[in-house]
Symmetry: C2
Subunit: 173 residues, 2 copies
């Protein structure tokens, strides 16, 4: 969602920073910074009983962390098209089926980014080139220990914690 009052403060290739007016009680108006974002997909690809995870270097943290494959939607791109593209880019697999696991707001105080979560099944190899600024290794891990890690605090990435817990709930694990 964008607003007519939005003033672009910084424009990037995937998202922009805007100043948006907020109307406070007493007739006062303020500008608040918002990251205006096209949204992203989060994938839980199942290869038999194992989840295709990624071990990814994150510049913001200066460390690698364990995550579900995910990526930002291109302008105008359909959600499932984005899901298939990101799956092929990050894992090298194409999925025959995507089952929705709902959506989340990762940071509603900061951004309108919506993340849509999908269980991806029926995987066959069909890679696309990785983004050149991404450093990703594939890790195949069974769902049950990942669920324990998500519950115990041993997974740290919010979207991955929720994707794993929702997938386990959906699959009645």
């Amino acid at each position: 969602m964008t607003s007519r009052s939005d003033e672009t403060l910084w424009q990037g290739s995937a998202w922009r920073l805007v100043g948006r007016e907020i109307h406070l009680p007493g007739g006062v108006t303020r500008k608040k910074p918002i990251i205006d974002h096209p949204g992203s997909v989060v994938l839980l690809p199942l290869l038999e009983d194992r989840v295709v995870m990624v071990w990814q270097y994150r510049l913001a943290l200066d460390q690698s962390i364990l995550e579900l494959p995910a990526g930002t939607r291109h302008p105008g791109e359909a959600w499932e098209e984005c899901a298939q593209r990101e799956l092929r880019e990050e894992t090298g697999y194409r999925a025959a089926q995507f089952v929705s696991l709902g959506h989340i707001w990762p940071g509603p105080g900061l951004t309108n980014e919506q993340m849509r979560l999908y269980l991806a099944t029926g995987l066959t190899l069909d890679p696309l080139p990785q983004d050149e600024d991404e450093q990703i290794e594939i890790r195949l891990l069974p769902l049950e220990p990942l669920l324990r890690m998500a519950l115990d605090g041993d997974l740290e990435d919010a979207k991955s914690i929720i994707g794993i817990i929702r997938a386990a709930h959906h699959l009645k694990i």
Copy 2:
């Protein structure tokens, strides 16, 4: 974490947008945008068997959503000091105990923001004034239906989903 290569692109009152150098294979260097953030706390305040939730207008979404109380750390503020301040500001309660439920990265592709989650118990009334740009209503809800909402996709806020699931796991619900 900050980096010596950081170039400030935009400076706000709570966080800043920086361009940070990333070194790619082949000796190529690029600048990527990062939200440099002091971190935040997420609280699960328990009043007998009910969770003190907030129904909060989010400018980025132009809608109100159900969340756990949460807030951004002031520069140099200790985490539990921040937890007590945000709890008093948003709910009017002070807690006698904070139990850590671990930490999460809400958006590691975008920001170094770390969220630390706490179960807050032993609540007594001791309010601080709310931030004037926040529009918050308190909702008292039992933990068990909240857990079902978090699992079924009826809660949308990522930090709140994880806080509720981790608290239920910790309390063996």
